[in-house]
């Protein structure tokens, strides 16, 4: 029953516990930034060479063709190369609540470009992320040789070296600035907590989390509210934390082209009922492949 005390303090915001979620949002953001540094630095995967396609090619970067009458070099230095990354911020239960409170992705990624000088350990960890991602091929060469199919290691390295040289050239043009990234964001909420339980946990922020408390004192922007963000919310109609009527009202209010709500019949908050996990997995899989 100690849980109730935790809720009480969260709701009134003056307890000693840190469980008002604010630190957790920052923790979540820290992991997003670190992993973004890692994934952006991962070299393209090595493809086993098949007989039908003996030449290994590193995927071409989506450089835009220069407009006519303009020198290519000049264009390159202005535009740089743009790479794409998809970012999914999600969670289950409390985790989805924290996910929904994270700031807009462009704001999160500012921490990647300019980590706060007050936390040198974080900046150093980002360098480690980039370094260890770049070395992935070297450190995992033994496992790679076990794949079916053969590939020419020398060709792989030559291709990567070529890619690396090109990148280096590009970076030199940009005075060491990293590649430009186009990052699209989506949000996955499994059994989200709606008010009142979210506000017990988060105070006012929990109310604001789902657009139910707009115009409140807490005006911090959320990534999930950004115009381009896609959202999938999956919940059971037998959820003990948030009643189905509340879920339905919420879904009615939120649903649109990019916002999809899925109600799973017979599912509780913990997805232990027969057959419901398969439905959850199926819904998530369809959405994350789309």
């Amino acid at each position: 029953m100690w849980l109730i005390v935790g809720y009480y303090r969260g709701a009134h915001g003056k307890g000693r516990t840190s469980w008002t979620g604010k630190l957790e949002v920052k923790d979540f953001v820290s992991v997003v930034v670190w992993c973004s540094a890692y994934v952006q630095s991962l070299p393209p995967p090595v493809i086993p060479i098949r007989v039908s396609s003996p030449r290994l090619t590193v995927p071409a970067s989506p450089l835009r063709a220069p407009p006519e009458g303009k020198e290519e070099v000049a264009e390159k230095s202005e535009e740089g190369e743009v790479e794409k990354m998809e970012l999914l911020i999600g969670g289950y239960s409390y985790g989805s609540l924290i996910a929904s409170l994270t700031p807009p992705v462009p704001d999160i990624l500012k921490l990647l470009e300019a980590p706060p000088p007050s936390t040198p350990a974080f900046a150093k960890a980002l360098l480690t992320a980039k370094e260890s991602a770049r070395r992935w091929l070297d450190t995992h060469s033994s496992t790679r040789t076990s794949y079916s199919g053969t590939f020419n290691r020398a060709a792989v390295h030559a291709a990567l070296q070529q890619e690396e040289n090109r990148k280096l050239e590009c970076e030199q043009v940009h005075h060491g600035v990293d590649k430009k990234w186009k990052v699209t964001a989506r949000y996955l909420l499994v059994s989200p907590l709606l008010p009142p339980i979210s506000s017990f946990m988060m105070g006012f922020a929990g109310m604001k989390a789902w657009g139910l408390g707009r115009g409140s004192v807490d005006e911090e922007e959320r990534g999930i509210e950004a115009a381009g963000a896609r959202v999938l919310a999956v919940y059971g109609d037998g959820d003990t934390f948030t009643g189905i009527r509340k879920y339905r009202k919420w879904r009615e209010k939120m649903e649109g082209e990019r916002w999809r709500g899925v109600e799973v019949g017979g599912a509780g908050h913990f997805w232990r009922e027969e057959g419901v996990m398969e439905v959850l997995v199926g819904q998530v899989e369809e959405w994350v492949r789309g």
Binding site: G6, R9, R16, E24, W34, G90, L188, L280
Partner: protein
């Protein structure tokens, strides 16, 4: 249960508090069969820690498996959780009866 490619501690940007984290690479990266690889990254938060929530939560792991199958790099982590403070809460309640 899927096997993480990385087990690590990520410092919070706020106060360098170390967070236990995992990074899972999808088969489409570790054993690719086509030349196309999209950079897709998912971070999944776990349920309420005072109720036993962690990155070992089975629903979190089901979501991780699903995302890996679909070619996403996935990360999970443990929210900071102060056991001492939770103990205090419990004591406070015990005092109240």
């Amino acid at each position: 249960m899927p096997t993480p490619s990385l087990n690590l501690q990520i410092p919070s940007y706020l106060d360098a508090h170390l967070l236990d984290a995992r990074v899972y690479l999808p088969p489409s990266y570790t054993a690719p069969v086509t030349q196309h690889w999209d950079r897709k990254l998912a971070i999944i938060g776990h349920p309420y820690a005072p109720l036993g929530g962690s990155y070992d939560d089975h629903i979190v792991l089901e979501v991780v498996k699903t995302l890996l199958r679909a070619g996403w790099v996935v990360s999970t982590f443990n929210f900071r959780y102060d056991l001492e403070k939770q103990k205090e809460n419990k004591d406070t309640l015990d005092e109240r009866g």
